[in-house]
Structure formats: C-alpha cells, structure tokens
C-alpha cells in the first residue's frame, strides 16, 4: 500500500517537472524578447554573466522605434484594417449564416455548396489571379484590397451556421408568430445568443488579420500603407543588428493580440475545440 502511494507521488512529481519544462520552453523566447528589448545591442548577447534585467535598462528602445521608422503609421494602418475586417466578417457571416441555418429558400443547397467547396481551397492557390483582378479594379496598394481579401471568408459563414443550427427552431417560430420580421429575429434573438461563436470568430479574424504577412506583402507597396508586420520585417532587414530595437518593436506588435487573446481566451479554447472536432 505504501509503495503504491510512493509511486503516485513520484508520478505527480514527474508530471510537474515535465509541465514546468514545457512551460519554460514555451515562455523563454518571450521572456528573452522582453529582456532584450531593454538592453543595448552589446548587452543582448552578453552571456557571462547573463542578466535578465540590465543594470541600466535602455527604455529608450521603446521610444526610438517610433522615430526610426513610421511605426505609428504602421500601427494605425493595422488597427484600421483589423477593426474593419473583423466587424465586416462578424456582420456579414452571421447574417448569411442565419439565412442558411434558419430560413428556407430556393437554391439554398446550391449556394451553400459554393461555400463548402472552397473551404478547403488554400488562398495561396488563387492569390495570383485575385491580385490581377484587384489590380484591374484599381485596388493595388490600397488598404481596401486587404479588407476585400480578408472580410468574406467561407470559414466564418460555415462556423456561424454550425452554431445557429444548435439553437432550437422553436425560438424563431415563436417570434414569427408574434409577428417579428426576420431582421428583428436576427438582431434581437439570434445575435445575443451567439456570443461564444462571435467571440471565437473575433479572435480568429483578429489574429489572422493582425499577423497576416503575405497578403499585405503582395498588395501594400508604399511606405505609408504598410502594416506592422511588413514594417517590422522591413526594419529587421534594414537594421539587422539593432537587436534591442527589433525586440522592442516585436514586443509592441504582440501587445494587442495578447490583450484580445487573454480577454476572449475562454471562448477561444472552446471554439477551437468545437470547430476543430466538427472540422
């Protein structure tokens, strides 16, 4: 009996050791980033002795990054894009999904098939013709191009539809009998009920737009149109040995995503789990 107990304790200890090890592997790059962001370029790679917080923290890294490159402009562009894309995505997908989930109409299956058929199609397969088309429309080097590119995904419609189908039809029927229009039903019954799905979609869209690199790389050419990711990459290639500044810029670029993630993470984990399993 005693040896069994010992074994259980040992097992627990091993589990915790592994967990702490993994947690360290996960977090050390971020801690290192924070630490390097307040160091001078010489201190960044100083190993003997290695210090996490230098004696004279170089806070100026965080102010210099705004003047070395038009960082504020990049931030403004990215914030604008992310907010517009996320709002459009939430609004149009939930709108379309309501129709697919709760209304009957002609060509319903055909229209939905168009969405399903493209959900597995990688964007990289059609990014070139898409660019050619957008250039024809005069969208080259315009922020609007990125909005058009990101805002109307099949994934959003699909995910919201899955969620709406879980809401009982009786709810809508009762509202219809009360004489509510479909628009009212959507706005005052369905939307408030779909908070978890909307939160999940918000994080997915927010993270994808904020972190997107290839899309902006193809479309946004001029300096004042660039997003944070492009601007940061540009800075890294131009000042490749300004390590402290690079890290300060990186830390700043992570903060908004970190905030959104921490606020909505409960929904995110649920959302990934449920959409993941349904595929």
């Amino acid at each position: 009996m005693r040896s069994a107990h010992k074994k259980a304790v040992l097992g627990k200890v091993i589990v915790y050791v592994i967990l702490i090890l993994i947690a360290l592997i996960m977090i050390i790059p971020f801690l290192w980033m924070l630490s390097a962001s307040i160091k001078s370029d010489r201190e960044v790679f100083q190993m003997n002795p290695f210090v996490w917080i230098p004696e004279n923290p170089k806070w100026s890294n965080y102010s210099d990054i705004w003047t070395k490159i038009p960082f504020a402009k990049f931030v403004a562009n990215t914030v604008f894009l992310t907010i517009v894309v996320t709002l459009l995505q939430l609004l149009t997908s939930s709108f379309a999904a309501y129709s697919f989930a709760k209304l009957n109409f002609r060509h319903k299956n055909g229209l939905f098939l168009a969405y399903i058929a493209t959900i597995a199609m990688p964007w990289q397969v059609y990014m070139v013709p898409q660019f050619i088309m957008m250039r024809r429309m005069g969208l080259n080097d315009k922020l609007l191009a990125i909005i058009c590119l990101q805002a109307f995904s099949a994934f959003g419609v699909f995910m919201m539809k899955q969620f709406y189908e879980g809401i009982p039809d009786d709810l809508c029927e009762a509202a219809r009998i009360d004489g509510m229009s479909e628009y009212r039903i959507y706005a005052s019954i369905m939307l408030p009920l779909s908070k978890p799905a909307l939160s999940t979609l918000t994080i997915f869209t927010f993270v994808a737009t904020w972190n997107d690199y290839l899309g902006p790389l193809i479309y946004l050419k001029s300096q004042e149109k660039k997003t944070i990711q492009l601007g940061l990459k540009m800075f890294i290639s131009q000042y490749s040995s300004d390590y402290g500044l690079i890290m300060a810029g990186s830390v700043l670029s992570l903060i908004p995503v970190l905030i959104v993630f921490l606020v909505l993470q409960k929904y995110f984990v649920e959302g990934v789990a449920s959409t993941g399993l349904k595929g």
């Binding site: 149009t92 129709s99 940061l232 990186s250 921490l262």
Partner: protein, 354 residues
Amino acid sequence: MPKMDEAAKAAKIDGLQQELTKLITDVRTETDEKKKRKMIAEIGKYNRQIDKIKSGRILSRETKRDLIAYSFIAPNFIGFCVFTLIPIVFAFALAFMKWDGSNPIQWAGISNFVRLGDDIFFKAALKNTIIYCVGTVPLTMIASLALAIILNQKVKGRGIFRTLAFFPYVASLVAITSVWKMLFHPSKGPVNNILLNVFGAAQENLPQWFSGGLVLFSMILFSVWKYMGYYMVIYLAGLQGISSELYEAASLDGAGTWNKFRYVTWPQLSSTTFFVVVMLTINCFKVYDIAIMLAGGGSGELTTSATVLVYYIYQKAFIDWDLGYSSAVAMVLFAMVLIVTIIQFRGQAKRERT
C-alpha cells in the same frame, strides 16, 4: 398582374383545384417512390398558384421569403463571389495560359505542366515542402497529444499552462521568428553558446541553424513549438469526450498507465488524431512565412535549400511575372490538398458507417 374580373378568377381557381384533387388521388395510388415525390412537389406548385390568384399579390409568399433570405446572404456572398469564387475559376484557366500580366494572354495547353518536370527549383520546392511536412506532422502530433494528456490530469495551474502553450500560436511570426533567429544565432546566440561552453562543442562545429542542410530542421522545430498549443486544445476536447468508465474498467483489469493509454486513450482518440493529422498536413503544404522569415535573407529570397511551394508560386508570379507557370505550380499545391481532403472525407464516412 392585370386585374382579372372576379368570374374569370373563380373559374381559374376552380380549374386548378380540380387538377389538384385529381393529383392528390393519384398520389395515394402511386407506388413508385420517385414519381410520388415528383407529384408531391407539383401539388405544392398548384397550391402556390391558387394562393397567388386568390390574394392577387404581385409577389407570392415564396418569392418574398426568398428575397428576404437572399438579402441576408447577399453582403457576404457578393464579396465571396467576387474575391474568392471568380479568382479560383480564373486560377484553373490561368494554369493553361501564358501571360505576363500586361501583354495579351496566349493559350499554352499543358506546356506549363510539362515545364514543371525539368525545373530544378520546382523540384527542390516540392521536396522541401514534403520533408518539412513529414518532419512536422508526427512531431507536432506527438507533442500536442503528450501535452494534452498531462494537462488533462488534475494538476494545479492547468489554465496557466494552457494559456502559455497557446500563446506562441497567436503571436505574430515576424516577432517570434526574430527572437528565434537571435536565440539560435550561429556565433552569438545563447543556444550555440551553451553548446560551446556546456557541452564543449568545437567552435567550427557549431551548427548554422538557418542555412544549408539544417534550415529545414530548424523550420520543423520552430513549427512544433509554435503550433503544438493549438492542436493540444483539440486533443484536450477529444480527451474530455472519453468516458471515465472505460478507465475504471481498465483499472479493474489491472491495466497500468501505459496499457490504459494503449487500449483506451489511443483508440478512443483515433478520430481526433485523424483530424489533427489531416489539418497539420494541409497547413504544412501551405508553409511560406516560416521559411521566408527564418531562412530568407535581407531581401526575403530563398535558396534551393529552403524554398517551398508557396514561395515558388509567389516568386514566379510577382518577381518573374510568369503567371501561367505560377498557376501551374499552384495547381500542384491544390492537388496535394485535394488528395488529403478526399482521404479525410473517405475516412470520416468509413468511421460513421462503423
């Protein structure tokens, strides 16, 4: 609709009604299922017609219903159609054309695909993508499953661990790859420093993580680190779906930890694992940013040791302006994803039947 006088209206309704009753009696006696269904659809049509004449409205109730439904779909569908559906159709056509984006398009037949055969850059891109995939998929799967199993136990600070493991997934690539490049810096980075000072590796033997043969290995390592948190969450959901009775039964049979994993956890998770592997594979095929940021030089160019399919699509289109050929490479990517998707559908159907 022109105004009909009441008598004509009544007569028309009468006529329709008669046909309707005849149809209804026919349906009762009809035995062929297919024909029956067709007739029932026709009954609906008659009913609608009668309705329309009776109410005298321009739009029938059905048309109005359809219009409302379309108004819900339109904002998304128009954007989706213009910016996704049309480019996809265009992409298929372009693969058989020769075009530089400004001069007239020429028909090229299958010559783009023939060219793929002796293009060493394409072959390198394809090979690297597949090696990256073969390395990343099993490692990520094992790491995320192990992590999920550990976090599924009653341990303190579970939520914090889960958040930590997830954070690399949401963090932007530009930021975290720049950290990795510093951590693994060939001459100054702490990783090589530890190899040098703790493990006594010779200075000239220190690995060059981001060039030559090691670059794919570094990319794989990085992807496992970045994406394991995401798949861990999917596995956690799978684990929570396993009934605890199965474990109790296994305990009664005297199964140890390993046997419980082998005979309960692993088989119960098979559909989750299947899904994870499919998603991982497809995402590996689409790799681009990781290669560019870890191995690309200042101008973001990749050599044959690190080039991947999506990079080659990008290069052929936006640097060489060989749009038709670029689309042919894109078709190869599409075919790879399609094959994996078909395997997934087959697997799912098989699982649902059993």
